[in-house]
């Protein structure tokens, strides 16, 4: 079974820094914080499972 593509270009639109909190279906951003602590604080009372991801302008040139 193929999982749906998680489109971070769409999700990160408008967010250039900080962290975003993403819905459990990976389709929309629920919260944004200037750091992870702030994003987690905003999502504290959310009942659904939340996935966190760091927001950045560019993910190119990563060598690992």
């Amino acid at each position: 079974m193929k999982q749906n593509k998680i489109d971070f270009i769409k999700l990160l639109k408008g967010y250039k820094s900080g962290w975003i909190a993403i819905s459990h279906d990976f389709n929309h951003v629920l919260f944004h914080g200037k750091n992870l602590k702030e994003a987690m604080k905003k999502a504290k009372n959310t009942k659904e499972k939340v996935y966190y991801f760091p927001a950045g302008e560019s993910y190119s040139n990563f060598v690992g």
Binding site: K5, K37, K49, Y51
Partner: protein
Amino acid sequence: MIFPCSPLPDFKDKIILAPLIPVTFRNKNFEFSTFALVDSGASGAVISTVIAEALNIKWEKIPVTQGFSVGGSFRFYRFTDLKAIIYDTKLMADHEFALSVSIIEAISLYKCILGQKDLFQRAKITFEGYKSQLEVNFREYN
């Protein structure tokens, strides 16, 4: 199960495709869900200090160790009592396994990486760059 590579933004309207999979980490009563880069070149799992703090790991109290990467040396803190949970959309069940992680300060871009000593021990992983996807098939245990 098949994970399509995730498109990520770039400065030059170029699309970066990365093998990212959703994962939940558990440290006793603390859980944190994020997306891990699947990296066959990484010897083991890496998380940033901010993720460690979200999991209530007191990383400052762990003795520091020197590590090496292609970019040179780095300092890390080894934590050996973490659980990773990956949901299998094919079996509609969770795969949970214990892992040891290296906690690194000021890690850039990808804040979480799974590598050889953890995910690659638990699953057969096939990278299909020409299809922009990776396939993860967990081993069966009796």
